[in-house]
C-alpha cells in the first residue's frame, strides 16, 4: 500500500491546484484592501455591499437569468426528443444526425459564434437576448442529450410494453410511465444547461447587443483593478450558488439511476 499513499498525497496536491482559485475567491472577497495580494488586511463585507449597489450588475444578472431559464427549458425539451429517438428507435441516418447535434461539444465556441453571427448579419437580424438564446440552446443541447440519453437507457422497455398492453395509449404511457421515471434526468439536464448558459461568455459576447449579460459584464469589470474586489465578492456568491445547483443536479441524477435500478457509474461528463 506504499504506492497508494504516495498517490493519495499527489491526489490531495492535485485537488489543491484545482481548488486554488476557488479558495482564493472568498479569502480576498472579505479582505479589507483594494489590492489583491498577501498579507491580508482584515475582515470586511464592504465589497459585497459595493457589488449589490451596482445597478448595471443587477440588470446584467437579470438578463442572464432570463436567458438561462429559456435556454435550459428549450435545450432540455429538444434533448428529450433526441435522446428518446436515439435510445428507442433505429433509423437510417441516425449516426450523422446525432453527430451534428453533438458537434458543438467539440467545436471551438468562437467558430460557432462567428458562423452564427455571419448568418444573422447577412439576414439583418438585430442582435438581442433572443440571438444569445439561439446560440446557447445550440451549445447546451449536446449536454442535455448526453444526460437524458443515460436516463432513457436505464429505462426498462418492458414497463412501457406492459402499460401499452394494459390499454394505455402511447401518449398516456409516456406521461404516466416514462416521464416520471426520467424526471430526475430532466431536472438534472435543466440545471446543467442553466449553469452552462449563465457561465457562457463567447457567444453571449458576440451574439448580444450592447446590453451585457453577467459573464460579459464581469469580463469588462476585471480590466479595472479597483473593481476586482467587488467581482471577487460576486464570484464567491456565484461559486456557492453553482455548487448548490450541482449538488441538487447530482442528487437527482443518482436518484434517477437508483429508481431505475441501475448502478452508479460516475459524474456528469
Amino acid at each position: 500500500m506504499k504506492q497508494g499513499s504516495g498517490l493519495r498525497g499527489y491526489a490531495f496536491l492535485y485537488l489543491l491546484f484545482l481548488y486554488a482559485p476557488i479558495i482564493i475567491l472568498p479569502v480576498f472577497a472579505f479582505n479589507n484592501s483594494q489590492v489583491v495580494a498577501f498579507p491580508l488586511k482584515g475582515f470586511t463585507t464592504q465589497w459585497f455591499g459595493e457589488m449589490w449597489a451596482d445597478a448595471n450588475l443587477r440588470a446584467a444578472l437579470g438578463r442572464s437569468l432570463v436567458i438561462a431559464v429559456v435556454t435550459a427549458s428549450v435545450a432540455t425539451i429538444l434533448g428529450i426528443f433526441a435522446a428518446r429517438a436515439s435510445v428507442r428507435y433505429a433509423f437510417p441516418g441516425k449516426a450523422p444526425v446525432m453527430g451534428l447535434i453533438m458537434l458543438p461539444m467539440v467545436l471551438p465556441d468562437i467558430v460557432v459564434a462567428m458562423a452564427l453571427l455571419i448568418v444573422l448579419l447577412s439576414l439583418s437580424v438585430p442582435l438581442s437576448m433572443l440571438t444569445i438564446i439561439m446560440g446557447h440552446v445550440l451549445l447546451c443541447m449536446p449536454f442535455a442529450v448526453a444526460i437524458l440519453t443515460s436516463a432513457f437507457q436505464s429505462l426498462d422497455k418492458s414497463l412501457e410494453e406492459a402499460a401499452l398492453d394494459l390499454g394505455e395509449t402511447p401518449a398516456s404511457t409516456f406521461r404516466l410511465i416514462i416521464l416520471p421515471l426520467v424526471m430526475p434526468g430532466i431536472i438534472s439536464s435543466f440545471l446543467i444547461c442553466f449553469t452552462i448558459s449563465i457561465d457562457e461568455f463567447v457567444l453571449a459576447n458576440f451574439l448580444g447587443s450592447g446590453k451585457p449579460v453577467l459573464s460579459v459584464y464581469i469580463f469588462g469589470q476585471f480590466r479595472f483593478p479597483a473593481k476586482v474586489p467587488a467581482m471577487l465578492a460576486l464570484g464567491t456568491l456565484l461559486v456557492a450558488f453553482s455548487i448548490v445547483l450541482l449538488a441538487i443536479a447530482e442528487y437527482f441524477r443518482r436518484r434517477g439511476i437508483a429508481r431505475a435500478g441501475g448502478k452508479d457509474t460516475g459524474g456528469f461528463l
Binding site: R8, L18, P21, A37, M114, A115, L238
Partner: protein, 289 residues
C-alpha cells in the same frame, strides 16, 4: 418485416426532427455559409464573387497568420501534455485505490471547479500570477526569492497554466473510465507470473488504458486551440491566438471572407492533427493487441 422497419424509422425520424431541424438551421447552415464565404472575395463588411483561394493562400503564407497558428498549436500541445500527464495518476488513484462507494464523490470533487464561472476562474489566474499579485506576494513573503517572479509577463506560459487548470477535469474523466474497464484479474495474473508491479503497470494497465488517454488528448487539444477568453484576459490582448485573430478579421477589419478562411483553416488543421494522432496510435500502440 420491411414495413415494420420503415414504421420504426418513421417514428424515429419524427421524434428526432425538432432537434435535428434546429441543429441544421443553427449549425449546419452557418458552417456551410462560413465554408462558402471562405472562398469568396472579401470587402469591408461584404463578400462577393468571383470564387477564389486567395484567402487560404494568404492564411498559409502571411507571417502573422502562420506565427499565431503555430503559437496556438504550441500552447494547445503543451496544455494537452500537462493535463494528461497530471491527470493520469489521479485517474489511476481513483480507479484503483478509492473504495467503490467513494468513487463518485471523488469525481464530483474533481468536476466542481469546472462548473464554476469560467470568466472568474481565468481572471483569477491573472490576479494570482500578475505583478505584485497573490503568487508574487506569497513568494516574497516566504522569502523564497528577492525579485517578483511575475509569471504574467510571460504571456504564453501564463496562458498554458490557466488553460491546463481549466481543462484538468476533461482529462481525468476519460482516463478514469478506461481504467475502470481494465480487468483486475489480468493484473493479478501478471504479478503471479513474476512481473513487478511497475512492469505489470507498463505492460498491462497502461496499454489497456490507452483509449482513455487518446480520448483525453483529443478532448483537451481540440477546444484549447480555439480558446478565445484566456489569451484575451491573461495575455491582455498582447498574446493573441488564432481565435482572437478570427475575431479581428471578422469584426475589426470586417473581412468576413478572411475570417471564414481562418475558421475553416484552423478547424482543418486541428482535424488533421487529430486524425494523424489517432491513426498513429492505432499503428504503433494498438497493434500490440
Amino acid at each position: 418485416m420491411a414495413k415494420q422497419i420503415s414504421a420504426e424509422a418513421r417514428k424515429g425520424w419524427t421524434l428526432i426532427s425538432p432537434p435535428a431541424f434546429y441543429a441544421v438551421l443553427m449549425l449546419a447552415a452557418p458552417l456551410a455559409t462560413v465554408l462558402i464565404y471562405s472562398v469568396m472575395t472579401g470587402e469591408k463588411g461584404a463578400v462577393s464573387l468571383p470564387l477564389t483561394l486567395d484567402n487560404y493562400y494568404e492564411l498559409f503564407t502571411k507571417p502573422i497568420y502562420r506565427a499565431l497558428m503555430w503559437r496556438s498549436l504550441y500552447v494547445s500541445l503543451c496544455v494537452t501534455l500537462a493535463t494528461v500527464i497530471l491527470a493520469y495518476p489521479i485517474a489511476y488513484f481513483v480507479s484503483f485505490y478509492v473504495s467503490p462507494s467513494k468513487k463518485s464523490l471523488w469525481l464530483f470533487l474533481i468536476t466542481i471547479p469546472f462548473w464554476t464561472s469560467y470568466i472568474i476562474r481565468v481572471s483569477l489566474w491573472r490576479t494570482i500570477l500578475g505583478y505584485d499579485g497573490i503568487l508574487d506576494s506569497m513568494v516574497m513573503g516566504l522569502g523564497l526569492t528577492d525579485t517578483q517572479p511575475n509569471i504574467l509577463s510571460n504571456g504564453v506560459l501564463s496562458i498554458i497554466i490557466t488553460l491546463a487548470h481549466a481543462y484538468a477535469p476533461f482529462a481525468v474523466l476519460p482516463i478514469f473510465v478506461s481504467l475502470e474497464k481494465v480487468d483486475r484479474s489480468l493484473l493479478e495474473a501478471g504479478q503471479d507470473l513474476g512481473e513487478s508491479r511497475w512492469m505489470t503497470f507498463l505492460r498491462v494497465t497502461l496499454p489497456l488504458s490507452l483509449p482513455g488517454v487518446i480520448a483525453a488528448v483529443l478532448i483537451v487539444f481540440i477546444p484549447t486551440v480555439g480558446d478565445y477568453v484566456t489569451p484575451e484576459l491573461i495575455g491582455g490582448g498582447k498574446t493573441p491566438m488564432i481565435a482572437n485573430l478570427m475575431e479581428v478579421a471578422m469584426l475589426k477589419q470586417r473581412d468576413q471572407a478572411m475570417g471564414s478562411a481562418i475558421a475553416v483553416g484552423a478547424m482543418l488543421i486541428v482535424a488533421l492533427i487529430s486524425v494523424v494522432f489517432v491513426l498513429w496510435n492505432r499503428r504503433f500502440l494498438g497493434g500490440r493487441k
